[in-house]
Amino acid sequence: MKIQVKLYSTLRLNLGVAGLEIEIDKPVTILKLLKLASQQLNSDIIPELIEDGKIMVGTILLINGKNILHAEKLETMINEECEVSVFPPSGGG
């Protein structure tokens, strides 16, 4: 199945990439998906989002617009085609 990963904020600006498509053949956790994204991007995006195994305060990870903090956090399973939005710690208006 195809997962659309959209990168935002400093990730998008620093990597010069707005998003990527990841093909997976079995369900994976979002943490695994972020690792796959890092491999595909040739750049480790995990340190921008996760510290000591925990989602950094201000990091936003959404599956189809729903924050994974209200699901199983980094263990949230991705088991169908979806859009994953990745925001490093971001500010307000």
Partner: protein, 599 residues
């Protein structure tokens, strides 16, 4: 200390200017800025006053930490009665004006009455003079600032002024300082215009005294470190400014589009904060006085025009809300608002309202007098009608009154997305329940900065709350409202609260003032300020019926996207909010509550 202990009272009719003492007891009870200004104002002005009459007063108040080295300590507050919402108005601004205002040796300025001819106030640490401003009347905020700076010839002086929209009493006009910073909301520019006060120019060198200078320095250093190390204030805001939010709020399906008829915008990538950088418009970050965050944006457009912004809210208002996907035009509209002295949030929302009125056939084509069609998506229209609005020409007469009065004039107030007649900013309450309760109960109407529940409900600071959950939200809303009242009264920027908490503010205030607030006392001070504002509004004639949201947000579910199917659940939230506030079921503070707060 950190106060000069002086108030300057200026009677614009008699030109009498006198200095009064600021009571330290009052300062301790209300901190400064918003709290202190509101206390002075509500003691002196009848809440039922006509906001544009000579009997209304206009107060400029600095905070306890304004013009200190505290991070972001450069803010000031304008307090008056709002001609837009008929509530207490207090409008906050950054830049450098607040810092220089306090350098004059005064904590608070009170303008009374109404001048016969256009005038401006020159104020430094030795003299205060009302001077003729007839040569400035009609000039925009940038021209006014340039002319005054040249006339005065003091490079470090700072100017706050109104543009043509304030002169013409637009109910959505603000007060501009440092050219592009705005005490934007609540129509405070119209009050200044009604008094024929075009500008204030401040200069001076009086330093703010600190109670425990060494300990204050240590505390400041620590707070700056906290702000620098925080992902939001140290990285996100400096990199993208407030416009980092376009994609975030759109992704969760709470990005009001087409005048709140949709909650996601398909062209968001064209108008986002990322686009502002990718298109090469961003030149550099701009910081206010003593700010380590620097969220401001200096922007140059391809045609060579330079200005500041747009911030998230104005960019959204002229963008998604009007379904305009041209970032260049959106930026120009924002520049125009700064020059005309218009509240750029209210201006954008009002044009979106006009677009829906046009779309539904309530505004007829003939009324546009051959101007561009007010169709959603028409970029040309937003520039054309902002100008009309700022100068009150043609249909601009109606637009200048704001969204509610515009929609009401066509017999369709339900098209107006306002609370207490003030335009709602860039977050759909149907997608973020606590934030919606914050809008409904806001003491100045549709405003996001008195209770920024986006922090916990979307951004996850200080902890992540589910935006659709309603349990516990009234408690959070109360804490955010009370804490914000403290921050606004201190003279600091709300953005510090992404990284700092009540104990941090207490420490800074205590070292600077010597007041020795406990965290509980400080939060109670915030609650006192909130209740004082509430009392003013109730005495002005507002009731619990005004604590509401537009019908669309309460009854029409979001049609699509991640928040699909949701409405705002105000009726389930409001009674509990009143209860924890210690108010009656009609939203009136009980005698016990007032007495507990010393009101």
């Amino acid at each position: 200390m950190s106060y000069h202990g002086k108030i300057l009272r200026i009677n614009l009719a008699t030109k009498e200017i006198k200095t009064e003492e600021l009571s330290q007891d009052l300062a301790k009870m209300y901190i400064g800025g918003r709290g202190l200004g509101t206390k002075i104002f509500s003691d002196e002005v009848d809440p039922k006053v006509d906001a544009l009459s000579a009997d209304n007063k206009l107060i400029f108040a600095t905070g306890a930490l304004t013009s200190t080295i505290a991070p972001t300590g450069g803010r000031y507050m304008v307090i008056t009665k709002s001609p837009l919402s008929s509530t207490i108005a207090s409008s906050n601004s950054g830049g450098f004006f607040g810092h220089k205002l306090k350098n004059t040796g005064y904590d608070v300025l009170i303008f009374e009455n109404k001048a016969e001819k256009a005038c401006y106030l020159y104020l430094d640490d030795e003299k205060a003079e009302l001077r003729d401003a007839s040569h400035l009347w009609g000039k925009d905020s940038h021209e006014t600032t340039d002319i005054l700076m040249e006339e005065i010839g003091e490079k470090t002086a700072k100017v706050a002024c109104i543009g043509p929209s304030g002169e013409k009493l637009s109910l959505i006009s603000g007060i501009m300082n440092d050219k592009n910073r705005a005490a934007g909301r609540s129509g405070v520019g119209a009050v200044m215009g009604s008094k024929m006060l075009k500008a204030i120019i401040v200069s001076g060198k009086k330093k703010t005294l600190i109670d425990d200078k060494e300990a204050f320095k240590v505390a400041v250093k620590e707070k700056v470190k906290i702000l620098k190390e925080n992902g939001v204030t140290g990285q996100g805001l400096p990199a993208l400014g407030t416009k980092v939010l376009d994609n975030i709020i759109n992704s969760i399906g709470a990005y009001p589009t087409r005048n709140f008829q949709k909650a996601q915008y398909e062209s968001v990538d064209e108008v986002s904060g990322e686009a502002l950088v990718e298109k090469g418009y961003l030149v550099k970050n701009v910081a206010c006085y003593a700010c380590p965050i620097a969220c401001g944006r200096l922007v140059t457009l391809p045609q060579g025009k330079t200005g500041e912004g747009p911030e998230y809210e104005p960019g959204w208002a002229f963008g998604a809300l009007c379904e305009v996907n041209d970032l260049n035009t959106i930026s120009q509209a924002n520049f125009m608002c700064n020059e005309l002295g218009l509240d750029s949030i209210s201006a954008g929302v009002t044009i979106a309202t006009a677009m829906e009125l046009y779309d539904r056939g309530y505004i007829k084509k003939e009324e546009l007098e051959k101007g561009p069609e007010l169709k959603f998506g028409n970029a040309e229209a937003i520039l054309y009608y902002v100008k009309k609005m700022g100068h009150k020409e043609g249909i601009g007469e109606k637009l200048a009154l704001g969204s509610y009065r515009l929609a009401e004039s066509y017999g369709h107030p339900e098209v107006s997305m306002t609370v207490k007649k003030m335009e709602i900013p860039a977050y759909d309450p149907r997608g973020i329940q606590g934030h919606g309760l914050g809008y409904a109960t806001n003491n100045r109407g549709g405003c996001h900065v008195r209770c920024y529940m986006i922090s916990p409900e979307v951004l996850g600071t200080p902890e992540k709350l589910d935006p659709q959950e309603i349990k516990g939200k009234p408690e959070w809303v109360k804490i955010f409202q009370d804490l914000t009242a403290v921050i606004d009264s201190s003279g600091l920027c709300l953005f510090t609260s992404f990284a700092m908490g009540a104990p941090d503010y207490a420490e800074l205030l205590n070292k600077a003032t010597g007041f020795n607030y406990s965290v509980n006392e400080l939060m109670q001070t915030g609650e006192r300020i909130w209740n004082l504002e509430r009392q003013f509004n109730l005495n002005a004639g507002l009731t619990a019926a005004d604590d509401t949201l537009p019908k669309r947000l309460l009854e029409d579910p979001i049609p699509d996207g991640p928040s699909k199917g949701h409405v705002h659940r105000l009726s389930e939230l409001l009674p509990h909010y009143y209860e924890i506030r210690g108010w009656t079921k009609d939203g009136i503070p009980t005698d016990e509550k007032l007495s507990e707060l010393g009101l």
